[in-house]
């Protein structure tokens, strides 16, 4: 099993105190994770010793920057087992990946009456870009429902996924329930009706081995900052032949081959989709992130989080009146969204903060999911490779104190 004490030494922030003598218990990694020293140093070294723009300069610094940035792309490609680094488009975050596909692929391929299939457990990033596309085109957005356990109800999939479905875009792991969806089964079902597939892997890539060729998905998006990497950098994976056929998303520098006053032609992949100076330090940081996670081992991280999730769900079940939403630990990634009797999640989160415990309170960018549960909000604790069982114990103690203060 993963040596969590050794892992924690890699993350300088974990020694920070929330308040004097109140150590930080960071249980909000599903929103944004902490960064190991190796990632911070990779970015720092670039900024301090070879900071220059990429793909432009003839001089040494710029070449070094270009090499490091493109090496990061190759590392990411290997990490998700893409066939080719040209299939890895650097974007700001998963959200930008969805917008890129909805605009570029969507504008060219969606017409009035076409259907776009999502699920009811999607993050807003995988809902809103499709709604905007559907509004522009007169297309229809449909949703695969989830059941009372927060698991997709596939009993009516054949009615939802039909020849009218042009794309089925869904999350690999729910950011609220933690549900690990049957990605390969859903992709196979989409292929059977000729629909394209896009995977929201923002909560999957950080926590388990992901192989895009094994998935055989058309597109997949994730964010760097949820996987121990920097903010401002994310990845859109797309199959080469699809990306080749797609028009550019944003226009500007770096994405062109030739510009005249009348018209322009486009650069090769992946740069066709990377207009303007990119997030260079962050891209290089993402390369270091991938090295770090590979060194620890994605299978080991997943196994450790499975242990933590079992531990957490059992510990939380001892808090009277607390309900964790979503499936049992065996079908769940390291996320526990819960309610505590009628208490408002903001009150819970505020009181936990006084104990140094950072959790998220709100709808976690999944309003339709919460609406279906009849909730305005939940409190969410999420775990990562640096989370310890002792921190989960502190969460449970904190929740007992919340009950006391509210005289429950």
């Amino acid at each position: 099993m993963l040596d969590v004490a050794k892992i924690r030494a890699d993350f300088p922030i974990l020694t920070v105190e929330s308040y004097p003598d109140v150590p930080l218990v960071f249980l909000d990694s599903a929103a944004s994770s902490q960064k190991p020293t190796a990632v911070l140093e990779a970015m720092d070294t670039y900024l301090r010793t070879y900071n220059a723009n990429v793909h432009r300069g003839i001089y040494r610094l710029s070449e070094d920057a270009t090499n490091a940035y493109e090496a990061a792309r190759a590392k990411v490609a290997r990490f998700i087992n893409a066939q080719d680094a040209a299939e890895v488009i650097f974007v700001r975050n998963a959200t930008e990946g969805f917008n890129l596909v909805a605009y570029s692929w969507g504008e060219a391929n969606i017409s009035a009456g076409d259907e776009i299939l999502l699920t009811e457990m999607e993050h807003h990033a995988n809902i809103v870009p499709w709604q905007l596309l559907a509004q522009r085109k007169g297309a229809v957005v449909r949703y695969v429902p989830f059941d009372e356990n927060g698991v997709l109800d596939l009993s009516n999939l054949a009615e939802l996924l039909t020849e009218r479905t042009k794309i089925f875009s869904f999350t690999a792991v729910s950011n609220v329930f933690g549900t690990i969806n049957p990605v390969k089964q859903l992709i196979a079902a989409a292929k059977a009706v000729g629909a394209m597939t896009m995977i929201d892997a923002a909560q999957a890539v950080p926590h388990m081995p992901i192989d895009v060729q094994d998935f055989d998905c058309d597109f997949l998006a994730f964010s760097g900052h949820k996987m121990c990497g920097p903010t401002g950098i994310g990845v859109l994976y797309g199959k080469r032949e699809l990306l080749e056929a797609m028009p550019p998303f944003m226009g500007g520098g770096d994405m062109i081959r030739r510009v005249t006053l009348e018209k322009s032609t486009w650069n090769d992949l992946p740069w066709k989709f990377e207009a303007g100076t990119p997030s260079i330090a962050e891209g290089i940081g993402l390369g270091a992130t991938v090295d770090y996670l590979t060194h620890v081992g994605m299978a080991e991280i997943h196994a450790y989080e499975q242990y933590l999730t079992h531990y957490a769900l059992e510990a939380l079940s001892e808090v009277p009146g607390l309900k964790v939403w979503g499936p049992p630990a065996s079908q769940k990634a390291g996320v526990a969204a819960f309610t505590l009797e009628k208490l408002h999640p903001h009150d819970i989160a505020e009181l936990l903060d006084k104990d140094g415990i950072a959790v998220r309170a709100g709808h976690h960018c999944a309003m339709p999911l919460h609406k279906k549960l009849g909730l305005a909000a939940t409190t969410r604790a999420s775990f990562y490779l640096y989370t310890t069982p002792a921190e989960i114990d502190r969460l449970v103690e904190g929740l007992h104190r919340v009950r006391q203060i509210f005289r429950l």
């Binding site: 408002h344 309003m367 909730l375």
Partner: protein, 135 residues
């Protein structure tokens, strides 16, 4: 542990709110939610002949801070003129709540005042301005 933000009075008001309910008819009513946290507050006000607050009631759902704030505010404005209600300073409400609030929670504390003023100024229902605004 410093839980001064949840001093006894806040918890008391959360358990036993003041002026909770609805008035029908009312001289003005307004309801608004904060979709980010799901807090929703409605305030109904009846005025007397001198345009003073004769009766006030609030209803809604949300966190302890927003709920306690609504109780304190509705208690405080009884007898005030419509103009005084319109000019009611947010600092006064924050003083009434009397606890140190983080920036994120000031919004919770001031939702009731925002609703009250929108009603006093006769603003249209937010749903009419931004259809689909309310979840």
């Amino acid at each position: 542990m410093d839980s001064s933000m949840y001093r006894e009075q806040i918890i008391d008001l959360y358990e036993n709110p003041l002026n909770y309910g609805e008035l029908d008819p009312a001289d003005f009513s307004y309801e608004e939610d904060n979709p980010l946290c799901g807090d929703v507050i409605r305030i109904d006000v009846r005025l007397d002949e001198q345009n003073r607050v004769a009766e006030v009631a609030w209803s809604g759902d949300g966190c302890a801070i927003s709920q306690a704030s609504a109780s304190l505010l509705t208690e405080e404005i009884k007898g005030l003129t419509l103009d005084e209600v319109k000019a009611f300073p947010k600092e006064t409400l924050l003083e009434l709540i009397g606890v140190q609030l983080s920036m994120a929670r000031v919004k919770c504390a001031l939702l009731s005042l925002k609703v009250l003023k929108a009603g006093a100024y006769g603003l249209p229902d937010p749903e009419e301005i931004h259809p689909g605004h309310k979840e």
